[in-house]
Amino acid sequence: MPLLDVEGLSVEYRTTQGSVQAVRGVSLSVEAGGSLGLVGESGCGKSTLARALIRVLPRNARITGGAVRLEGTDLLSLTEEEMNQYRWRKIAVVPQAAMDSLDPVHRVGNQMVETLRLRGGLTAVAARARAERLFQLVGLESRRLEHYPHEFSGGMKQRAVIAMALALDPSLLIADEPVTALDVIVQRQVLATLRQLRAELTLSLILITHDISVVAHLCQDVAVMYAGRVVERGTVRRVFAAPQHPYTMGLRNAFPSLRLHQMRLVPIEGYPPDLVAPPRGCAFAPRCPFVIAKCWDEDPPLVATESGHMAACHRANEAAVLSAGAPEAFARLERLAEEGPIRATGSGGLR
């Protein structure tokens, strides 16, 4: 049984413009000790999903369906009090920009000890010892417990925040954009820390990011999100070597890579759809160079094309051929876009 099993989760926000369907029927799972990368651009729903998993959504958000099973228990069916037993103890989250939310007027060590005593019920002495151990785990010297946040570098702050998240020994850690704001060398160090933690603590990890290279580096599995849905899922190796969804194919060519020596980057033209009125068919259709008539009418379900690899595309069985022609196909759209906006009614498609 997987450690975490999310099935058909849907979340909506009530806004002045209407109800935004931020997450639309997302299913994914994480094995014990596994690591899942959740990749997508801003607005695709990944942060909302993370918050929904531990039920800390803002007041105007509602979970409208689905189940979140942690070791068999559906977290969505728990009362707030019961849920509190799970937060920090079984699942911990390092939210986006967590390192900026360290209280600047308290020493970092005290902030950790406070958490440990309040949440873990430890005595002051035990909490202190645990704080030191946690700092060691993330590669920070224990003397740093006496320091204030401003004396830490970005990377150190991030590691301190990760240490805090691990305070009560959770089995699952969700990290939302943990390295985005960091310089590349420090980024690498934080990622190394995470990898080490996974090994030492048999920690399961969900890593949320827009940067696919970070996922490639750290995670075994990946789920690609677009417009509130998971459009592709599988092991990192397979998804990156042989993507089956056009969006994933497009992402590969849109990234400048140090090693691939790309002659030309190709953007994915167009914009994600407005989720107040999600489209009837595939949400990626207006931007997809391989769109066919069926894509506008029917939203493709996430189906397995081979063991462990799933994609939500009507043409997934042609993926190999399409993938080879993807750079050229997206480039054609790029040229078209230069002459006028791609309209949602679909001059974006090519047969």
Binding site: S153, V186, F240
Partner: protein, 349 residues
């Protein structure tokens, strides 16, 4: 050979900090050495990348070139003219020659101005165009150039109604309206979504080649610089530690910092996991600069001379210079691990 368009010599920018009361009594003065001796030249049509992590002085260097800041020492010359000496009409003329693309597209446009109004601003300031009709026409042309079509659709919009990519294109259009010869791009895509970056980068490549613009790209992303720049200078704590053709720097990095930087860039291909070059994680402070090489506290190959003398920038290859004692003339060249040397990779020979 014609003179370079831009020439930077021994540029320095220091910010004095107010020391504590007792410290100032003792005559101590703390100084932030944001830029600490930078030199390079840009021939017309050339593209230079300034690489490095935050705090290395690359943005400050860019602003010094544009004349937005005055150097503490050293000079920036544009067509032979010292930029820091410009004032009045001369400075206004320089503003037509050198422009910038900003890092944050969401803040680079006045939120109370429509797009049309924002783009008219350079025309109005420099009195370009004889009447409103001509000016609006120029704005329309500029929007078309940055692929915001049809331009009229954008005239009456406000910045909050546009996406990040559209905003950045508008910023580029605004910079182009004065027909500059030098364009400095400060992290132009770091705040944009990943699938949008390629479009903006391609646009800049297209425009700079069409207009033979001289460009400086400031970025911490080496992969981006490889895509955009002929030459790259890697900066650390206000100095250039390595400079040369971008391909060369990335494939054969010589300076230990460059090596660490190159090795640290994560790769979208999971089969290529470079060995991390371990460097210490001390917080570099640009104001407690040690004597000698600025990288000494983090360098895995530090030697005693590094703590005494600052290494000069010396050639290690055609157009390729490094500031490191490992390569000073009386020493044999230390082996430089690079991409070409490691395992199975897709690199071309």
């Amino acid at each position: 050979m014609s003179a370079p368009l831009v020439e930077v010599q021994n540029l320095e920018k220091h910010y004095p900090l107010r020391a504590g009361f007792l410290a100032s009594l003792a005559g101590e003065r703390r100084v932030v050495h944001a830029v600490n001796g930078v030199s390079f030249s840009l021939p017309e049509g050339h593209s230079l990348g300034l690489a490095g992590e935050s705090g290395c002085g690359k943005t400050t260097t860019g602003k010094l070139i544009l004349g937005l800041l005055h150097p503490t020492a050293g000079t920036v010359r544009f067509e032979g003219q010292d930029v820091a000496q410009l004032a009045g009409a001369g400075l206004l003329a320089y503003r037509r020659q050198a422009q910038m693309v900003f890092q944050n597209p969401y803040e680079a446009l006045n939120p109370r101005f429509t797009i049309l109004r924002s783009l008219l601003e350079p025309l109005l300031i420099h009195k370009i165009g004889r009447d409103p009709v001509e000016r609006v026409g120029l704005v329309a042309d500029a929007l078309r150039q940055v692929h915001l079509n049809p331009p009229e659709q954008f005239f009456l919009k406000y910045p909050h109604q546009l996406s990040g990519g559209q905003l950045q294109r508008t910023v580029i259009a605004r910079a182009l309206l004065v027909e500059p010869r030098l364009l400095i791009a400060d992290e132009p895509v770091s705040m944009l979504d990943v699938s949008v970056r390629a479009g903006v980068l391609n646009l800049m490549r297209e425009i700079t080649s069409e207009r033979r613009l001289t460009t400086v790209y400031i970025s911490h992303d080496l992969a981006l610089l490889r895509y955009m720049c002929d030459e790259t200078a890697v900066m650390y704590l206000g100095t250039i530690c390595e400079i040369g053709p971008t391909e060369e720097i990335i494939d054969h990095p010589h300076h230990p910092y460059t090596q660490a930087l190159v090795a640290a860039v994560p790769d979208p291909d999971p089969d290529h996991m470079e060995q991390l070059v371990e460097i210490a994680d001390t917080v570099p402070t640009p104001f407690e600069l040690p004597v000698g090489c600025p990288f000494q506290d983090r360098c895995p190959k530090v030697m005693s001379i590094c703590r005494e003398e600052r290494p000069p920038l010396l050639h290690v290859g055609p157009g390729h210079r490094v500031a490191c004692h490992l390569y000073t003339t009386d020493r044999p060249h230390a082996p430089a691990p690079g991409l070409a040397a490691t395992g199975p990779s897709g690199a071309h020979p």
